[in-house]
């Protein structure tokens, strides 16, 4: 059972890693002026909710399966995701707003955030991998 949980987490984590890389690539495209703000934001906003769900599911799964350490590790990132999603002002077009992304260093902070998430997911990936192998051996 435990191995199934970790196999699922591993797959989910892979998806999140890819998503983070996609965010980084798209944002740096915008930075280099290869795409315009509008298309960049509409591309990214599409993936905000999947990312949110993907990560929340893992977190909840860890909570249910009583892996406290991993759950606590995931909790801040998951709550940040939810907070960010909920706090979008009503007039904005999503977490990424084309009219504001070039202002006040938002682009940079988005970039930083995506980088941090990438690192975090990589860390998680190895943790899940380790736990999965451990669980498989124990089985």
């Amino acid at each position: 059972m435990e191995s199934v949980v970790f196999i699922f987490s591993l797959i989910d984590c892979c998806a999140l890693i890819f998503l983070s890389v996609y965010f980084i690539i798209t944002l740096s495209d915008l930075e280099c002026d290869y795409i315009n703000a509008r298309s960049c934001c509409s591309k990214l906003n599409k993936w905000v909710v999947p990312e949110l769900i993907g990560h929340t599911v893992v977190t909840v799964l860890m909570f249910v399966s009583l892996h406290w350490f991993i759950f606590l590790l995931n909790l801040p990132v998951a709550s940040w995701n939810i907070y960010r999603f909920v706090m979008v002002p009503s007039g904005n077009m999503g977490v990424f707003d084309p009219t504001e992304i070039h202002n006040r260093g938002q682009l940079k902070s988005h970039m930083k955030e995506a980088m941090i998430k990438l690192g975090f997911h990589l860390l998680c990936f190895f943790m899940y991998l380790y736990s999965m192998i451990l669980a498989l051996i124990n089985d």
């Binding site: 315009n36 703000a37 509008r38 009503s90 007039g91 904005n92 009219t99 202002n103």
Partner: protein, 1216 residues
């Protein structure tokens, strides 16, 4: 229903076809380009349909600034001669006055009378003698400098002789071989460096001349120049005069006569006084320059005078050479320090290097820019010059000296009188010969002494005397802090040559006119760094350049500007990225003087504001025609307010003045709960109304003929405009389907782009984009939280972005009596680069002030210039970066603003940060390029360039602070803050801005008492302006403020240019019942009195007086109860105070002196701005009085500090 027969009654109006689904055009996917839409709209575009269809597909994505394509030589290099007749910009006009007058003028505030040439001559004499007396000093200094240099023999030789004046010619003979024109030996450039430097040095001397108090700067004399002066005696004096005249005249950039031969003896023009050579003023001090001056530089005047025959038969008239010397000396400031530029071309993705072809054409013309020489210079630039012994005579200053000697030319008003005393005893030198005199006076400097003496001068300037702008002001003690005349922009502390070339502060202003070198220094100063732009301002004089190649830097795409440096004739160095570029062949020819080989005299290089006519490279599609669409609210509410009459009437009057050409198109859409279109197809007998009631899925009832050619359908349009106000008089429809109407308008406009003018009178209540009232009237005066400053829905933002992508701007006129959620509605204009007008409680008869305001605004709105499909790019020197933009536009990429329309009343602001420290440069430049399509279908680029010095000390940063610009930028930042965070945060941030900057100043100036509130003179108005901001409608709390009013004020802060915004924040108050001619100025034969500014406090109001308050868009005239009856009679035209009506909005034209004065003053104020403000006369007891008293910001209100209390509050904060 009084509608004319032609317009069918509404219910019956919808033709069957219009409603039939079959007739629905499949709405063209707006983003992907109107390829198919040209099928529907053939009328306007049928002329060139294939042109339109092809590029439009990728149109929205690709920025327009340049389209890579082959160079199209359709534009020959002719200049608009009309524009060029006086290309000297207003900056140049100062040069009429004697000498350094322009600087003086700026500091002294009062214009100098133009002195007669006789007086000037006298002055020249005196200054010459002044120089003469100080010569020995300079020589001694110089000799010490030169004693070690090997090849400085010429210099040292010249030195003793020049003190003895009459021996000079012999020196000159020794010198000239080196200078002789064609003999450009490789070894000689350094000598030429010497000469070329001397020319700028002239200016330095002039500066000392202008400010005798500064004469700690030892006048330097260049022996070669002196020889020139003496040689001129051997030639005819008039000869010299004319040379000089040529020289000065060319430099102003005025049209040089084609036959500008020096030999034209006798052009002794008294209007070109000797002192005009100020124009060459060059920071002699800033000698970091020398290394770049190239082989082709020489003192042509000298050349010419000595060996006129040796001037080769080349196309270059001698004065051009002189000019070269001038320029090379003048524009090399950040040369020596600059890093070698990357040679790889990394152009913007949408911009192509079209100059590749011209690269590296090194013609061996008579101008001897031989490559070895240039190589030498490259070596020099690389920092190799100390080693080249043979070059030691070239004044390559040690870097530390040049740093020390950064010119701090702060003018000291106290020194001004000294300038006038032209009666200095003329010593041994008698003015026996004017040419002689002027010659001597003109070339007073010796480069060797340059560094020493100027460093001395610089030191003494900085230490012995503090610049006026740094004078500490005790804010609490000084009661009358407001100057009597309106505050002027501080002048950047550049040498007068660059200063003259610099961009007009009205178009381009920086919050810090001395840019701190590092971000750390900027952080220490706690002042915001940013630019305030008014790029599309109405200009009276604008050089327009038609040229097939627009010269731009190949790596950063900067347009060539006055602050680039020419390394030699063939190459110029970009002042933003320091890349060395080639001068295209075509640029070598100067159409202004019709001469070849003087790229630095081209108008692009002579003016910091120029406009280029762009070639087809800068187009993605043929320039669009002017297209105007009016979307009018005709619901009950709107009809009741009666705005339709005013709009239609105003449009009728201005129909012919709408900017545009023969292709101009116009259309109308009205809406209530349905959307009505008007078929105005030519050939119809009457306009046809088409109603679409399916507002959930809006469609265009007919593919064409809704937007019609203005000229072909003029009669129909007039019919419609005449009928429209009466068509809906009996409507009972109260709903408003604004969203669907806008969607329809967007569909209508998307094939072409253009301008949508929306008139809305209430909260949109139907269809997409409907809004709900969010304002709680009880919270209007809340001191705590002000909510709903941001938009409620993203519908309008999305719509605006769609419009922006299709080059359509939406202008909003909101005329409502109740809450209409401007915060949401404004988004449609904000992001589509439109403009917003708001008329609270508008009613055509109950509120005549607003009605009049609407009328005036509309007149301006219809007739002002307009630029379509515009983009603006702001570039700045490497090391600086822009991080936030303010204004109405969409930021398409990091430095590119997409402006669907640009209008002359739009202002922008940007915040900057210093990413890399600016250690290797002494100047930074900013350039905005606005590419737009004029209403005549021309693609044009307007370029502004601003140049500012870099400083290293905190005191200098404070000295250069521009308080008005800083306050405007802070206001913009505060608006962002209040929307993204909260109003109270924004208010705190404003107060903190003052507290932080003042405490940083106090702690930096150690000699000040810590206990008092002290500000540098440059920032003395900072607390006052911030207090004014806190009491502004946008940010005030505690006073009842309607949400829409507040949001509108915020919109204005974001989009108004600085001048207007400052009046909004801090109005000007004048007392007008006792206008006198004292200090009056003359404008167009009218005497305009200049009453002093009063402080904004009730203490200044007296019941006996009458006061005028200039709030930018409105003038209040407040009349005291006991106002002088003669004033009321003479100016207002009423017998006494009691008979003055409550709502007076006009001053009668009475034939009395005081009336004439008052009217000329008011009309002068009016003329100074594009929007004609409305006038409101307020009696002491009228209810409108509160509006007036709200603006008295120095007084205490129930919810806010008085000025004094605010100062005390700040002091407490600082001491904490």
């Amino acid at each position: 229903m009084s509608a004319p027969a032609g317009i069918p009654p509404r219910p019956a109006a919808a033709p069957g076809g219009a409603r039939a689904p079959a007739a629905r055009p499949r709405a063209p996917p707006c983003r992907n380009g109107p390829v198919q839409s040209q099928v529907h709209f053939p009328s306007g575009y049928s002329l060139n349909p294939e042109n339109y269809s092809a590029p439009s597909t990728h149109y929205p994505q690709v920025p327009h600034e340049a389209i890579p394509s082959q160079l199209d030589n359709q534009y020959i290099a002719d200049y608009h001669s009309a524009c060029y007749s006086v290309p000297a910009q207003s900056v140049m006009t100062h040069s009429i006055g004697p000498g350094m007058l322009n600087t003086q003028q700026l500091y002294g505030g009062a214009p100098h009378p133009v002195e007669s040439s006789g007086g000037l001559l006298q002055e020249a004499v005196s200054s010459a003698s002044h120089l003469h007396t100080s010569v020995p000093q300079s020589y001694s200094a110089m000799s010490s400098h030169y004693i070690s240099s090997t090849s400085s023999s010429v210099a040292s030789q010249g030195f003793p002789l020049s003190s003895g004046h009459y021996a000079m010619p012999s020196v000159s003979s020794a010198v000239y071989p080196h200078l002789s024109y064609p003999a450009m030996s490789i070894g000689s450039p350094y000598r030429q460096v010497l000469t070329s430097q001397s020319l700028p040095a002239v200016g330095q001397f002039k500066e000392t001349n202008a400010f005798p108090g500064q004469s700690t700067i030892v006048p330097r004399t260049l022996q070669q120049q002196v020889t020139l002066g003496y040689n001129s005696t051997s030639w005819s004096t008039s000869d010299f005069q004319s040379a000089q005249e040529n020289l000065s005249r060319n430099h102003t950039g005025s049209v040089a006569k084609a036959s500008n031969q020096i030999n034209t003896v006798g052009i002794v023009d008294s209007s070109h006084p000797v002192n005009q050579n100020v124009q060459f003023t060059k920071p002699g001090v800033e000698t970091s320059v020398s290394s770049v001056v190239t082989s082709s530089v020489r003192t042509p005047a000298a050349d010419h005078l000595i060996e006129p025959a040796s001037v080769p038969s080349s196309t270059q008239p001698p004065e051009s050479l002189l000019q070269e010397g001038m320029q090379y000396g003048g524009y090399v400031n950040n040369q020596a320090s600059s890093a070698p530029a990357p040679l790889s071309s990394s152009s913007d993705d949408e911009e192509e290097d079209e100059e590749d072809e011209e690269a590296a054409i090194d013609s061996s013309s008579t101008t001897s820019s031989a490559s070895p020489v240039t190589n030498n210079y490259d070596a020099l630039e690389g920092g190799g010059y100390p080693e080249t012994d043979s070059a030691t005579s070239s004044p390559a200053p040690p870097p530390q000296i040049s740093r020390n000697t950064k010119p701090f030319g702060y003018g000291y008003p106290t020194l001004q009188p000294g300038y006038q005393n032209a009666t200095l005893p003329t010593s041994a030198m008698q003015p026996s010969n004017p040419g002689h005199q002027s010659g001597f006076q003109q070339y007073p400097q010796y480069p060797g002494v340059n560094q020493l003496s100027s460093s001395l001068g610089g030191l003494s300037l900085q230490h012995s005397q503090q610049p006026e702008s740094l004078r500490p002001v005790n804010l609490i003690q000084e009661r009358n802090i407001l100057p009597v005349s309106p505050v002027l922009a501080p002048v950047p502390n550049l040498n007068s040559d660059l200063r003259k070339l610099n961009c007009n502060p009205d178009s381009f202003r920086c919050t810090l006119t001395n840019i701190p070198q590092t971000q750390a220094l900027l952080n220490k100063a706690k002042l915001p760094l940013g630019l305030l732009l008014h790029p599309f301002r109405d200009l009276t004089q604008l050089p327009v350049i038609t040229s097939s190649t627009i010269v731009r830097c190949r790596s950063c795409r900067t347009y060539i500007n006055p602050f680039v440096s020419f390394i030699d004739q063939r190459r110029w160095k970009c002042n933003l990225c320091y890349r060395v570029n080639d001068v295209p062949e075509e640029f070598m020819y100067n159409p202004l003087t019709r001469s070849y080989g003087e790229p630095h005299k081209r108008p692009e290089v002579q003016n910091s504001t120029v406009e280029f006519i762009a070639s087809s490279d800068y187009m993605l599609r043929p320039p669009q025609p002017a297209v105007y669409l009016f979307v009018l609210d005709v619901s009950h509410n709107a009809v009741e307010a009666g705005y339709l009459t005013i709009v239609c009437q105003s449009l009728l009057e201005n129909l012919d003045k709408l900017p545009g050409d023969s292709r101009t198109r116009i259309g109308f859409v009205t809406f209530d709960s349905t959307v009505q279109f008007y078929n105005l197809q030519e050939g119809l007998s009457q306009p046809q109304m088409l109603i679409v009631s399916d507002i959930d899925d809006i469609f265009l009832p007919t593919p064409d003929s809704l937007l019609v050619n203005l000229h072909e359908s003029k009669e129909l349009i007039k019919d419609l405009l005449n009928a429209l106000p009466n068509m809906f008089t009996n409507t009972r429809e109260t709903h408003s389907a604004l969203g669907p109407a806008l969607q329809a308008a967007f569909k209508l406009m998307s094939p072409t782009g253009g301008r949508i003018s929306v008139f809305q009178s209430q909260l949109p209540s139907l269809g997409a984009g409907l809004l709900h009232s969010r304002e709680d009237p009880n919270q209007r005066s809340s001191t705590k939280v002000v909510q709903h400053l941001g938009p409620a829905t993203d519908f309008y933002k999305k719509l605006a972005l769609d419009c922006s992508g299709q080059q359509t701007a939406v202008d909003l006129f909101l005329l409502s009596s109740q809450y209409s959620d401007l915060a949401s509605l404004a988004c449609m204009s904000k992001y589509s680069a439109g403009c917003i007008y708001y008329y609270p409680s508008f009613h055509h008869s109950h509120n005549p002030t607003q009605a009049e305001k609407l009328q005036k605004d509309l007149k301006r709105y219809f007739t002002r210039k307009i630029g379509f499909e515009a983009v603006m790019r702001i570039r700045c020197t490497k090391g600086l970066s822009i991080h936030t933009f303010h204004g109405n536009f969409f930021v398409r990429s990091t430095d590119l603003l997409s402006l669907a329309n640009v209008n002359p009343d739009a202002g922008f602001a940007v915040q900057m940060s210093i990413e890399e420290s600016l250690t290797d440069t002494s100047l930074v430049c900013f350039q905005t390029a606005l590419l737009y399509t004029s209403s005549k279908g021309e693609r044009r680029i307007r370029v502004h360039t601003l140049c500012l010095p870099v400083v290293t000390s905190l005191a200098d940063v404070y000295a250069g602070a521009d308080v008005q610009a800083a306050v405007c930028l802070l206001a913009n930042m505060a608006v962002d803050r209040s929307v993204s965070s909260s109003l109270s945060d924004a208010r705190d941030a404003l107060v903190n801005a003052v507290v932080d900057s003042l405490s940083a100043y106090i702690s930096s100036a150690s000699n000040l008492q810590q206990s008092t509130l002290i500000a540098p003179n440059s920032l003395k108005l900072f607390p006052l302006y911030v207090l004014a901001l806190l009491k502004q409608k946008a940010f005030r709390t505690g006073t009842s403020t309607r949400l829409d009013d507040r949001v509108y004020a915020m919109c204005q802060i974001k989009s108004q240019p600085l001048g207007h915004l400052m009046k909004m924040i801090h109005p000007n108050l004048y007392r007008i019942d006792r206008l006198t001619d004292e200090g009056a100025i003359h404008v167009n034969d009218r005497v305009v009195p200049q009453p002093p500014l009063q402080k904004l406090s009730a203490e200044k109001l007296t019941r006996e007086g009458a006061f005028l308050m200039d709030c930018g868009s409105i003038f209040y005239i407040w009349i005291g109860k006991n106002c002088d009856n003669s004033f009321i009679k003479d100016v207002l035209g009423y017998p006494n105070y009691a008979s003055v009506p409550q709502k007076l909005t006009q001053l009668p034209e009475l034939d009395t002196l005081s009336s004439e004065r008052a009217r000329s003053f008011i009309s002068w104020l009016r003329d100074s701005r594009p929007l004609s403000p409305v006038l409101q006369v307020i009696k002491d007891e009228s209810p409108a009085k509160t509006d007036f008293f709200h603006h008295l910001i120095e007084d205490r209100t129930e919810a806010a500090f008085s000025y004094y209390e605010f100062l005390v509050h700040i002091q407490q904060q600082i001491c904490k």
